[in-house]
Subunit: 496 residues, 2 copies
């Protein structure tokens, strides 16, 4: 067996383990009875320790060296070796005691955070979050040393391989300069239009589910390799060839669940469309979180908050709920789906105000990791940033810096991928519409094949073959910039 | 850390792994989309290999020796050591190449069997089944040598620790002498009674599910540590503190699913009632398959095919389906639930004819493992045995020796536990009724607490603390014999 074949076999096993964990995690969030939580935590902890052991297996280093000298490799194989080396470098960068200390600090901090958020008690969270931050800094430093990048960039690289804060600074500064004025204009334009007619629930959950399934099918979701279920926090998870999405239903508002289903279906289409021959190999994985988020947002924001989508979907919605009247017209639905509003909570934000939430968090976490700001000053800095970027100040930390689980749970470096994803989605959708002129007309007929076919070929089936910049350049002609996203917002919200 | 503590920690991990496998297996049978089968098989195979590695970890042998000399152990700890040694002896008895060859032969044979059964093609299955049998003989010989028992008894011990064919021969010969004549009498008595009134479906599946949930709750099933779902073949599975049961629904006959739910609830009550402090340790496991089957049959056959149960359940059934008329009376329902009929298929058999199916399989598999009969003669021997024990001859092998998956899937030594379980259930129920006189009156009110309380104390909470014979002797005053079972049948079917 060649060294490359040994590596491929080993990573097939890594994948089998990660699939097992993925399904158990899905089960924990959807099916598991409450009394099983402690036993399940034991099982997941054990499998994660075993998975980590497989990921840092010292044979990988030897195999890599030998395989990199092998001559009979395809371009895909070489890209796979590059990805394996990247993953192995990161996985072996951390000493075991740091991994364990970090895991314990995160568990304690997450638990404290639930209470602290409810009580709007930042002071109570501070010692726990300080510990997590300290260990994140250490982890960033250890990984950064191996990768030759700053601590923050090293943390970012866990979610966005190859990403750099210098790039993000430029992109986000561009957006941050554009958004405050743009948001005012969009709100002005909205205020000068008549309010769209509304509709009244309740909307039966079973009917919402059936509508969601119909739209998933139209988008091209493969039900032989996935499912739709319910969870408290919607997600796309599961395993290779078993890409499960969840939603939650609100009887008073079916649009929430439907848009959530469309968002997760976008993620799922990426996962289902990864290259079959490399499904279990690192090169067959999704490229990174910004591209992943672009695939959910290209569906939710670019494709399905359009007049074309509502031309297709409004009749389905009327049929699903027996709806009739002005609020059920496609135009009114589209207007309601593109409403702009300044708010404190990121997850409730619309696409115009969302980037401000992200830019704020990105700037703060970068400063905190660089030790350029004491953690105790976070609430004040948060509120100042909200005022500067969004023009509102949270009345308390529950609606401010305590709202997200990312920092307590050790997800430092994750936030920027949301807005990078939104920008990438705009740039990809624009390219798809140019390459496949039937993209928008297709959506109006409920035919997503032109769009999804283009995404399959240009994004999904490419896995991690190329670096993010090269992937985007091959698909759209250039690396990411804020231009198309700004133009998209201007067109949709100012009619420009 | 003492050697005992090291063992306990190790078996805690073994349990965490087995819980992971249990949930993934449950998911495969209930939730998994078809396209995920290959990926799931990889995950399960990997986890099983890792689980086996943990079970044969050579440190176990060292810890055992040291722990057996430790003085600060409770009776439970000592029983745990005994169980660990038993399991370790069996797990380490087989060479790795035999485990692998057997696993491959079983996979191939199971696949062939599905087709061979459909085609009634024993000749086509023969080479595959021969290979499985050959490897089962080798496994039995290897384990038997370690345990100091015959090959067949060694295989039997995987399901029935401490069981012996000498004991089973005596019990089954007793039954086999009794049953043919008794069956004739029961059928005669039945023929002389008026047919019970029937009821007409369809019975909505949602209503069947709700009825099942109500009856599960009455039986004492803990929904915080389990679920009810649908699968092609009903089972009780899952994990510690996560005991999930399944059923399948037939719109034409709700009794099938309901009796299935009651049966699996019996298994689940055992699993949920295992000793909490030893839940993850070998001594906390269920005692063996005959005791396990006794817990399902004590619910399905002893408690819930009684006039008392139908006095409680008939109103629930009428309410569930809006039923009215003579077929919905408790008496008619009970009569239909205790109907006797000679048939070819074991899984469709009633409690009077079921033992004949089992005794036939037991005698045949014992002869085949002992190489006392060529496998090619199985169909003829099967048909002769059916004629002798049940008075009917299958028209083909699909309805004969090809009907069960046990032999193709390597489950040799399992069959006798079904009828040992039925006999054990009768003996336990009889003892429960004597110890708790409110057992049957309670059931008539839907109050299963007297019965389940007695089972909890005498069986469930005992785990594997005692050998089966001792467990039964402590609970009923004597080891298993066929007497109570025969008396139960005579009372129910002959009014004797």
């Amino acid at each position: 067996m060649t060294a490359y074949a040994s590596l491929a076999r080993h990573f097939g096993r890594v994948s089998a383990m990660s699939n097992a964990i993925g399904i158990l995690q899905w089960d924990s969030d959807t099916m598991m009875p409450s009394g099983a939580a402690a036993s399940r935590a034991e099982s997941l902890a054990l499998l994660r320790v075993l998975a980590h052991g497989m990921a840092v297996d010292p044979r990988i280093g030897d195999w890599l060296e030998a395989a990199e000298a092998e001559s009979e490799l395809t371009d895909w194989d070489r890209a796979n070796l590059r990805e394996i080396r990247r993953v192995y470098t990161v996985e072996t960068a951390l000493p075991a005691d740091l991994v364990e200390a970090s895991s314990k600090a995160i568990s304690a901090c997450e638990m404290k955070w639930r209470q602290a958020r409810a009580d709007s008690d930042f002071a109570g969270l501070l010692p726990f979050l300080s510990e997590v931050l300290k260990l994140q800094r250490e982890a960033g430093a250890a990984k950064g040393e191996k990768l030759g990048v700053s601590s923050y960039d090293a943390l970012l690289n866990d979610y966005e391989p190859g990403g750099s804060s210098a790039r993000i600074d430029a992109l986000f500064d561009d957006l941050a300069a554009f958004l405050p004025d743009f948001t005012r204009k969009a709100l002005d334009a909205q205020a000068h239009r008549a309010e769209p007619a509304s509709i009244e629930g309740p909307f039966a959950i079973q009917a919402q589910r059936q509508l969601g399934l119909k739209v998933m099918a139209a988008l091209g979701y493969d039900f032989e390799r996935g499912r739709l279920d319910i969870s408290a926090h919607p997600f796309c998870g599961g395993a290779d060839n078993d890409v499960r999405i969840t939603t939650r239903y609100d009887e008073a508002d079916f649009a929430k669940a439907l848009m959530g289903v469309i968002h997760e279906t976008g993620h799922a289409l990426y996962e289902q469309g990864r290259p079959a021959a490399y499904m279990s190999q690192p090169v067959g994985h999704a490229r990174g979180m910004s591209v992943h988020e672009s695939q959910s947002l290209i569906m939710e924001m670019q494709a399905c908050r359009t007049p074309e989508f509502f031309a297709f979907a409004a009749p389905l919605m009327r049929e699903a709920f027996g709806g009739a009247g002005p609020g059920w017209e496609a135009e009114a639905m589209w207007r309601r789906a593109t409403r702009v509003e300044r708010g404190f909570i990121r997850v409730d934000a619309d696409e115009v105000t969302y980037p401000a939430h992200v830019i704020l968090r990105y700037r703060l976490e970068k400063a905190l990791i660089a030790d350029a700001m004491p953690l105790s000053e976070l609430p004040a800095a948060w509120n100042e940033g909200m005022q500067a970027l969004l023009g509102i100040t949270p009345p308390n930390d529950r609606l401010g810096c305590l709202q997200d689980i990312h920092w307590p749970s050790g997800g430092w470096g994750y936030f920027p991928t949301y807005t990078l994803g939104a920008m990438t989605a705009a740039q990809l959708f624009d390219a798809a519409c140019r390459a496949e002129p039937d993209t928008l007309p297709g959506i109006a007929r409920g035919d997503f094949a032109p769009l999804v076919g283009w995404l399959r070929a240009n994004i999904h089936a490419q896995g991690s073959r190329y670096a993010t910049d090269e992937l985007l350049t091959r698909a759209t002609g250039r690396p990411l910039d804020a231009g198309v996203f700004k133009a998209h917002l201007a067109r949709r919200y100012l009619g420009a």
